[in-house]
Subunit: 708 residues, 2 copies
């Protein structure tokens, strides 16, 4: 696949295989739109039925086209499309866009044909878009190479590029955002079944594309999700926001994805974790693209999350405060100095906390607006300003806008407005704001959401910078890899814990006994009380098999328990291959947590953290991250579960050793990376977190090697 | 207060006290707007400075006005406003609207003046709106009695009425919804500090107002929240949807409310519970008012929650499916019969699950659209249809709209559209839909949200009807009321449980012992093991005081424990008045849950349910309802907590006696109502829920009487 996709969006020539004279149909539209929208490159319709199409010579076959076109669009039915792709390959066409449907989305037969497409594209190194897509628009080159109602408009070029898996929906979003929301687009591509170039391939290209300042994306699932982390971080380095609209999050939605673009959708929770980890902003509706793109184009970046909310009617302020808090911003009081200076400027009934209600008095004195705004924006406790002007219109609106522009011009802090007046009655005001790229929104809620997106992206960039200065633990154990590679079955507890120990994760003191007397000796060495547990790959549910005895306080109890366990297990599963009985120290004053690795087929190794038992299994109160993680991220994981207070001393317990838990998560992360080719799943359940200063200890563990 | 507010919104005459010739100011605007918008009643400006205003005779004082006006608007400053209200009272004015700010929202001095307002309004029986509001609009009577930018427009009357605590924000929402969203308003009122007529008073009136079909409301808090349940149910009876935009939900937001309209905002969780219980639909932005009002005016009511989602491009379908599921709708497969009939109509790559992707083939054959739509809407497994038409425009759009109208005309199931084409290119299609009141939205997401609101309201009406046929338990215990009335302190466990027992809530077998030998005798009667607990109003934290011993297996252990408890407690609190030691059966195989009554100052008695200990205290995993509740609601409460699986046999336990738990909650509800004048708080912690068929038992309880 050609790495540089510039040629795809700015082709010097396009062949249209299967172009039709019926200009309203899917196969007739692309040629028609390319001509109508003023595409300046060469056009080569290919169809044996015609000799000429819209004034262009029509060729019977692609190999008759007099040059190698930069892009070929294949418009024929699925079966024929396979042959045409092969022909494009032979011709040496670098990029092919295939609209044809009827591949993996229709089931087995389609899958076979789709595999043929993949093989052909790979064989010839074709940069392949589709099938089952609706084409691309390269706005600067007027490359309107697609079909649908979005193509009836000429778009103004701008800094937003968009990647949409869905064709119809993607282009309708683009069209609405451009025509009604004034968003300027650069490159837009619909990717369909993504046999060749994937959504993430396009992201990677757009992160590097100097003309793209913001990326919006609609996705149903990413077959190559393991790339997400790296591309997301590259985007943070470039400070380019990626807005993603991820659908297929419900069970029913996932079913629908399978029959649409046939993408593996993967676990919703892993997407959420990955987006969060890489500062990808999730959006929920078309309006968000419009609103956020205005925010990201304002040219200012908040240094922190403290927003000052200014209103002329308190209602909007309260609502914006709720929304700010819900989205992670801080709404703190202004500094006392600022309040003192504001007091004489405003009516006695104005509220000078935060939100700051300047009241309707602003109608009578717009000067007040500037002075107050100046004081507020200069407050060192303020990182950004959100102002709600209700329906302010006419002359007053113009005066207020002028003052806002004056203040904004002299500050590097973002200021955004909620302003519900219609353009007809506040046009002058709005134009003044537009000129200085001061974002304004019809609803104060939308204003706050956009400011939150801008702020959260800035914070994500900051965290990413900080993480780059943080050491990242890497560990390697050739012995462990070999052991997993050799193992045909799940590792029993004592084996799994030996692996953990190699990566520096503390485990309980323990030793495998193969006789009652040996068990007695080990117990005496460890010290009482002890726990005895059967060790057998054939007995994964040890307790159920009667294979566990806890709280054994003497040598005699240990010997008796040893024999009892063997009797129980032999009754439970007569043919079980028994490795022995593990004699283990009994940990009594730890909080039980669960750590896990899930080596996801799409995302690669993901780490899980939760409190023990019910919290994870019933309450689903867990945090997830893609490995590897820095210590700061491990701490985030620990603190974001709802049950976190149980680790800090809730209900009269001693606070736990959180630092040791952070360390254990980092070691687990390093282990996940080191073993990613050999490990399917790892669970430490429980890990005992002891009181502060006393560390952690893995109480039990299970490892499933990756099957090959 | 006059009960019938029709006269307020349709006044025959209005006096404007403090009206000004400066028409742009707050005191100048109302007179100006009333004249400009064509109000037909008599206008009486009152201001000693003028003899005439905008062609109307101006009076020096209200008592000089030649008749008693239906409404007086007070436009003067706070201090003078108090006197003017008194003057209105003397004149006998039935309704007064006060714009003046500077009352309770500014602190102590303002509170005093506001109390004066209240007293005057009550003394004269004035229907009082405000202070600190922006007036009202009665659209049919052209009573534009307020100020702000919303008043520059003439509105078309319609069936939506709105109550907003915030003036500026409320009117800007109204104006935007009317002018850009086409919402037809009837009565709009801003209520400010609500000294007289409250938001809920207006709701009550509007529920009965024949001209109002939908109520929208912006609220920061309700001082009379105890009315919410009754009014909400009256609205369900009338099948009138109430949309509420509740703000002040974050801690910071609540602080802001205090300085805005100075409303007690109350606990967010209780509002959520009350809205949920009464089918009040919560909204989150201006767009929701526009979108939902179109849905509620479609004239059709879904019979259930099963939606068929139809698209011409799969992407929208997946997103709508996610949104439908998130909002409680069901997206189930069509019946096999329907699928069989659809199959020959559509391309082989169309998806006929649900969402149903008819694919872009619809471009070429609009007839297909009608046939498919007919089959789908007639499917008995479908209650409503949501269809996404992407950006379909021009001729095709018109043809598709015609077919939709044809199908919709013959069905009583709602059909709604997501259709993103601009009106310029789909105007004919949109007009055809508008004529039949078929709602259509620019984004499929908004379409699905609106359909969910319509569906959830219909379901709430249905549940309400069903509940009316369900018996509601009522219990009464004069003895308990007397006991609480007489009690000066919290009730100790044994006293609290005696109360529970009177209301039929099972408690542990137990008896109070005042000597070791008595404890021994009681224990023998109950049977071992037993628990001993100190009983003293001075020792609320029994365990901390060393006042609890569990698992006592013999008479000797009981005697020893009795003495040990007394020693510990005397050391812990030497002057504690000790009632004795409670000897109690030890319950061993129950799941611990917590039931509670919180007699909220705003809402009245609310019921709480959660799993024991950590689940309630750390995880906040609780459900709330206002008392009284029916058994079906008790079951909802139990099933909506996340930890519910612990009651049904998670992790290998026996399923619990859910029916007995439902019964206990109903009895608690009856108790809450019976004792509502005497009880501040009641906690049963724990209530043991025994295995199915074996009932529940209160293990411990605390009752705080209401202080007087």
């Amino acid at each position: 696949m050609p790495l540089d996709l510039q040629r795809l969006f700015n082709p010097r020539s396009i062949a249209l295989i299967g172009a039709s004279t019926e200009l309203g149909t899917i196969s007739g539209q692309p040629m028609n739109f390319l001509v109508k929208r003023g595409y300046q490159g060469a056009l080569y319709p290919v169809n044996p039925k015609y000799t000429e199409l819209l004034g262009h010579k029509c060729y019977a076959a692609i190999d008759e086209v007099p040059e190698v076109p930069d892009v070929a669009i294949i418009l024929v039915n699925a079966r024929l499309a396979v042959k045409m792709l092969e022909a494009c390959g032979r011709k040496g066409v670098p990029f092919v866009i295939m609209f044809s449907s009827g591949f993996s989305e229709i089931g087995a037969e389609g899958v076979t044909m789709q595999n043929e497409l993949r093989a052909i594209a790979q064989r010839y190194g074709i940069g392949f878009v589709g099938p089952n897509c609706q084409g691309i628009i390269g706005v600067p080159a007027k490359a309107y190479a697609g079909f649908g109602s979005a193509f009836i408009y000429d778009y103004e070029p701008g800094p937003v590029s968009m990647v949409s898996q869905s064709g119809g929906f993607g282009f309708s979003v683009m069209s609405l955002a451009a025509m009604e929301g004034g968003v300027g687009f650069r490159y837009v591509v619909t990717t369909g079944n993504e046999v060749g170039i994937s959504t993430l391939d396009f992201w990677r290209f757009l992160v590097d594309d100097p003309g793209t300042q913001m990326i919006a994306s609609y996705t149903e699932g990413m077959k190559d999700a393991w790339q997400l982390r790296e591309i997301g971080e590259a985007a943070l380095d470039a400070r380019k926001p990626i807005l993603v609209w991820k659908v297929g999050n419900s069970e029913e939605g996932r079913r629908a994805v399978a029959s649409h673009t046939a993408n593996l959708s993967g676990a919703t929770a892993l997407y959420q974790a990955a987006f969060r980890q890489t500062g990808v902003q999730q959006i929920e509706d078309i309006q968000d693209i419009v609103d956020y793109s205005a925010a990201f184009q304002c040219g200012k970046v908040p240094r922190g999350n403290r927003v000052a909310i200014i209103t002329i009617s308190g209602g909007a302020g309260i609502m914006m405060t709720d929304e700010a808090i819900a989205r992670g911003l801080a709404v703190q009081p202004l500094s006392p100095e600022t309040v003192e200076k504001l007091r004489p400027l405003v009516p006695s009934f104005a509220a000078l906390g935060n939100p700051i209600d300047l009241t309707a008095a602003i109608f009578d004195d717009t000067d007040l607006c500037r002075k107050a705004l100046e004081l507020i924006i200069e407050d060192p406790l303020v990182d950004s300003v959100a102002m709600a002007n209700a329906g302010l219109q006419g002359e007053v609106a113009t005066k207020v806008a002028r003052e806002i522009v004056n203040v904004a011009r002299r500050s590097d802090k973002p200021i955004m407005l909620g302003w519900s007046a219609r353009r007809e009655v506040a046009g002058v005001a709005y134009s003044m704001l537009d000129e200085l790229k001061i974002p304004h929104y019809r609803s104060p809620m939308r204003c706050m959401r956009a400011l939150a997106a801008l702020t959260n992206h800035a914070l994500a960039c900051g965290r990413h910078e900080a993480r780059k200065r943080e050491p990242l633990l890497a560990l390697s154990s050739a012995e462990s890899k070999a052991e997993l590679a050799a193992s045909g079955t799940d590792l029993a507890e004592y084996q799994a814990k030996r692996l953990l120990a190699r990566y520096g994760i503390p485990v309980t003191r323990e030793e495998l006994a193969t006789s009652a007397s040996e068990a007695r000796r080990i117990a005496s060495e460890i010290g009482f009380p002890v726990v005895l547990k059967i060790q057998s790959a054939d007995v994964p549910h040890k307790t159920e098999a009667g294979g566990v005895r806890v709280g054994l306080k003497s040598a005699a109890e240990v010997e008796a328990a040893y024999e009892a366990i063997l009797v129980s297990v032999r009754r439970y599963k007569p043919d079980a291959a028994i490795d022995g009985v593990l004699v283990q120290e009994m940990v009594q004053d730890g909080v039980e947590v669960i750590l896990g690795i899930n080596n996801d087929p799409l995302f690669g190794p993901a780490l899980m953290f939760g409190l023990g038992g019910i919290f994870t299994e019933v309450m689903k109160d867990v945090s997830l991250r893609l490995a590897p993680i820095h210590a700061s991220v491990a701490r985030e994981m620990i603190r974001e579960v709802k049950a976190y207070p149980l680790l800090t001393g809730a209900r009269g317990r001693a606070p736990c050793d959180e630092d040791a838990l952070v360390e254990a998560l980092c070691r687990l992360s390093a282990m996940a990376i080191d073993l990613k080719d050999h490990l399917a799943e790892l669970d430490i359940n429980p890990l005992f977190v002891l009181p502060a200063g006393r560390g952690v200890k893995a109480g039990d563990a299970l490892i499933k090697p990756r099957s090959r």
